[in-house]
């Protein structure tokens, strides 16, 4: 199950989705907005997505995780819009019979999300904003 959402991440709801009698371990990763990045104080971030493609890519990432780590129940939710420091941007929850599969699936999924999901982050500072897409680009200076 994958969901792009415009409201706070629903971790209890995700945890309910991966439960079941055969589950012996549940692993979770939650990405959180940090108050600093690359030496600058961050006051908020804004996530933009290509929603239809993001859901497709997240679904592929779930399928990859099952292919690599075996039978498991996995759910991913990514938030878009403006988030304050301390708010969750993404949550991945995986339930499996054994701990290694659950933890492996979650680690794999967050790496792949960062590589491939069509989602972009803009950081808000006290003195401007900046996309984090590519620091080498012209026009990357603070606006």
């Amino acid at each position: 199950m994958v969901r792009m959402v415009q409201r706070p991440i629903d971790l209890p709801g995700l945890l309910r989705l991966v439960q079941g009698g055969g589950i012996g371990g549940i692993a979770v990763f939650v990405g959180v907005v940090r108050d600093h990045n690359a030496g600058k104080r961050v006051i908020a971030v804004e996530y933009e997505a290509y929603p239809a493609m993001a859901e497709k890519v997240l679904g592929e990432i779930e399928a990859e995780a099952v292919g690599e780590f075996g039978p498991l129940s996995i759910a991913i939710e990514h938030r878009v819009g403006r988030l304050e420091v301390g708010e969750a941007s993404v949550a991945i929850v995986a339930g499996a019979a054994h701990r290694r599969e659950a933890l492996g699936a979650v680690s794999h999924a967050i790496e792949r999300i960062k590589q491939a999901a069509p989602i972009w982050k803009k950081e808000w500072y006290e003195d401007g904003t900046q996309w984090l897409d590519d620091p080498g680009l012209p026009g990357t200076e603070l606006k």
């Binding site: 990405g31 996530y47 933009e48 997505a49 290509y50 239809a52 493609m53 993001a54 497709k56 990514h78 941007s89 993404v90 967050i110 999300i113 960062k114 590589q115 491939a116 999901a117 069509p118 989602i119 972009w120 982050k121 803009k122 996309w131 984090l132 897409d133 590519d134 680009l137 012209p138 026009g139």
Partner: protein, 81 residues
Amino acid sequence: MKVRVLLFARLRELARSDALELELPEGSTAGSVWLRLQEQVEALRAYRRPPLMAIDQAYVSPDSVLAGGEEVAFFPPVSGG
């Protein structure tokens, strides 16, 4: 033939537009759509490296040929998570 073009993040901001329709010659590729866009939308010329490209929500390389009617998206390196 026609395609629908979507722009995201920095490209959307540069172009001041998130979507447009383009009329293209037969045999156009995703890469040629990007060049056409840069001709039509001057602000996009500031973005000098090849963007990421997707046809109908799947990543493609610039030489992917279009049949018409697709949704073609251009965007910077991703930074979600």
